[in-house]
């Protein structure tokens, strides 16, 4: 059943999907930093308020994924920021996250060598988002 985009239910489904992925488990061995995703508001797309997704990832496991204020996500070790519709493009495979970062469509803050070292893990994490069935607010 589809869950509301960037809701607490979505966070739980996403966390379970990451923890089911053997590819992620292997590629993220040694990862020990928090990751925040900031989803910027787009009121015209029925996404009126910015949200922050805080991911507690450790050594190939998603220990916790929560949805809250954007300011919570901004405190993480790595922060990726984009408007709602860009995240939707990522989650529906219309935008590759690596390309998006190189093009500045997704803005990354954090230690670059570390994130580049874990490119495969971040690609698999993007794959996990595409496997969660989502109800998008602008498609109602």
């Amino acid at each position: 059943m589809a869950v509301k985009a960037f809701s607490s239910e979505w966070a739980k489904e996403f966390k379970d999907e990451v923890n089911r992925s053997s590819v992620y488990k292997t590629a993220a061995k040694g990862w020990k930093w928090t990751v925040g995703l900031v989803v910027e508001a787009e009121p015209d797309k029925h996404f009126p308020e910015a949200k922050g997704i805080v991911m507690d990832l450790f050594d190939g496991e998603a220990r916790n994924v929560t949805v809250g204020a954007a300011s919570d996500a901004q405190k993480c070790d790595f922060v990726i920021t984009a408007p709602y519709s860009r995240w939707k493009e990522v989650a529906t495979k219309q935008l590759d996250a690596t390309r998006g970062m190189l093009q500045g469509k997704l803005k990354l803050k954090g230690d670059l060598p570390t994130i580049v070292r874990y490119t495969k893990a971040s690609q698999e994490m993007t794959e996990c988002t595409t496997r969660v069935p989502v109800e998008w607010p602008d498609e109602k």
Binding site: L102, V116, R117
Partner: protein, 151 residues
């Protein structure tokens, strides 16, 4: 009583300059990556100090390029491909990321026998990774790879 002067902490001078007033996201990312690598690892700093070369990197699936102008201890990053390049690397985004994940082995040579290295070598053989100016500049390419690698 004599007053002691309190010195403000001095920021180290930037190793990387951007030629364009608004560097592209790709230019900022590569410049930031190289600066972080060089500052963190003395062996990369040694290469950076002596490397003089103009290296173009063009990402084929986003149609964006940069020119890395290494000037022996300084780097100037240009948006787009500039003229008089020593080497030009053309590949898709995933392969460019793989290049920065190549391990460096004995004698400072990139490792092409592990999974990342085999992937890069395979793309070179299949023409999905093109390096203009490779043959006369193998040593330069190895230095650039060492500076670029996060491994």
């Amino acid at each position: 009583m004599a007053r002691r002067k309190v010195k403000a902490p001095v920021e180290p001078p930037s190793l990387v300059d951007y030629a364009d007033p608004e560097p592209s996201a790709f230019a900022s990312m590569l410049g930031g990556l190289i600066e972080a690598n060089v500052r963190a690892r003395p062996e990369k700093e040694r290469d950076f100090e002596v490397l003089v070369a103009r290296v173009g990197i063009f990402v084929t699936d986003i149609h964006e390029g940069v020119t890395l102008d290494f000037k022996g201890g300084r780097l100037v990053v240009h948006n787009g491909l500039r003229q008089r390049r020593t080497l030009t690397i053309r590949a898709d985004a995933e392969t460019v990321m793989s290049l920065s994940n190549l391990k460096i082995g004995l004698l400072g040579l990139p490792v092409y026998y592990d999974s990342v290295g085999r992937g890069v070598a395979g793309k070179l053989l299949r023409g999905k990774l093109k390096i203009d100016g490779l043959l006369p500049n193998v040593i330069t390419l190895n230095m650039v790879t060492r500076i670029f690698s996060v491994q």
